[in-house]
């Protein structure tokens, strides 16, 4: 394996980590734990690219995957929050209620929306 990025399914890890936490509670963790370990092992093996003479440590890589996952969730969350806000704004303006603050034009809303990934 030449490089970490080519060998790790990071989105898989978020799912596994989330499920892992859940199964700690339900005690039905065998399969999930196995998968977690397999991914962890893959991370460990993937952490030996040609240029690296440093062992990065599996715990660190899993943590980074988790952080990336949380960041991803926040982005998705923000997208839905923006959608909800624009839906409510549209609903209020249709019902004829005077908005308390100057509301953005449709164009502005679209522009804002396009900033999100």
């Amino acid at each position: 394996m030449h490089c970490v990025k080519r060998t790790i399914n990071s989105s898989g890890i978020y799912v596994i980590l989330t499920s892992y936490a859940a199964t700690r509670v339900t005690r039905s963790m065998n399969k999930v734990t196995q998968t977690t370990i397999i991914i962890a092992a893959a991370l460990l093996m993937a952490a030996e690219p040609a240029w690296a003479y440093l062992d990065p440590g599996t715990g660190s890589l899993i943590l980074q995957s988790l952080i990336a996952g949380i960041a991803g969730l926040l982005v998705v969350g923000r997208l839905y929050w923006a959608k909800l806000k624009s839906f409510l704004a549209a609903a209020f303006s249709q019902s004829g209620t005077e908005p308390a603050v100057e509301k953005p034009s449709d164009d502005e809303r679209e522009n804002k929306g396009s900033e999100l990934p």
Binding site: M1, C3, V4, K5, R6, T7, I8, N9, S10, S11, G12, T33, Q34, T36, I37, I38, I39, A40, A41, A42, L43, L44, M45, A46, A47, W51, A52, Y53, L54, D55, P56, G57, T58, G59, S60, L61, I62, L63, Q64, S65, L66, I67, A68, A71
Partner: protein, 463 residues
Amino acid sequence: MAIDLDEGSFRDPRGHIYLDADRVFRTVNTTGIDEYNRVKTTGLLGKLIASNQLVELEEVDKQAHGFDQPEVALLLEHPRLPFISYPYEWGFQQLKSAALLQLDIYLEALRHDVTLSDASAYNIQFIGAQPIFIDHLAFRPYEDGEFWLAHRQFCEQFLNPLLLRAKLGISHNAWYRGTLEGISTSDLNSLLPLRKKLSWNTFSQVVLQAHFQKATLEKSARSAVSANKGLPKLSFERLLTGMRHWIETLQPLDSGSTVWGDYADDNSYNENSAIHKRRFIESFAADLKPDVLWDLGCNTGEYSAAALSSGARYVVGFDFDLVAIDKAYMRARDNDLAFLPLFLDAANPSPNQGWSQLERKGLKNRADCACLLALALVHHLAIGKNIPLTAVVKWLLALAPNGVVEFVPKNDPMVQELLRFRDDIFDDYDLDHFVKSIRERADIVLIEQIQDSERHLIRYQCH
């Protein structure tokens, strides 16, 4: 080839450091030349050098310097640093400055699509109060989506030692000197009480990381997974900036006063004595204008600064008290002094250690100072540590050919404090014995009794 390989330079196969008297060379091997050239074209190295964050480099003729091994693709020359120090000799504020520099370099590198192959604290050195990065081969092209592979090392070598002091009030120095590679996340996690783990930063970087590491170590698994994207660049940058903001806020838990931290304002001599002492040091430094002067027992650096203002070009200070080291470092930083204060227990100086006991050099092996100051130090060794007076003199005089030592007599309040709860078994601790012992190894150039005090300053020059 008469040039010596630096014994600490063996980890990275892409190149090595060689020392030749006052010159420092770095080979770039055929295995590393491609990455070096790719990084060079991004302009990163030039930018970091221009902002004094990276040691300068010059590409020189390898044949002309006798580097004819087939694996050597390119030869670089760097300016020699006045003194090589190690993270276990730094105070908290120095380790913190070094950590921030490491993160700033990472962030700048990412902006140039470059990353670093490690995050070793030994890759950072100090010139006065200014931290500077010294490993030009640590840089390599960034590949989209790759992890921060040196994250664990950064935590162990920078973050965890800082947290140890910030969260628990324990200094990192002795522990770091023992392990050489810093403080493991699992050890720190075991030490931290629950209430200290409740912030998101500590929870994620210490508790979670230790947990994940343990989980993967306890079970064995052999398999592989296919394809994916890893850590997005934006997340990488946020991880670095988040770490930077956090480290910026860290301060020692015990930042109150210690025994010596307030010493400069609270000692057994008055203003006349201090002025006299200062003039003695200034005339010594002005006469000899040493390139490097060592100030053993530098405290907050008052006399180091005096030596610098009157002719010394660079001062390395040493003290046992970590609060004094931090204050001395602030003095150097605020006044832009060529002064590097470091932690030292003179009765137990840094040894030769690491791989083959040559990787990290002991204090003696780094002693190439022309001049020495040892003010109010001898009584701590002779009486505080029971080291025979003649042995103390022999050790001090072996460090530098010229110096100023202060003799504090038994009736001085500071010595009386040391003797307060113990028998006086130090029959030969007096000025006569001290001077006689110096005369066996050196000429006494000048001896003066400090005004309004019974202390003496002795300037010597070795035979």
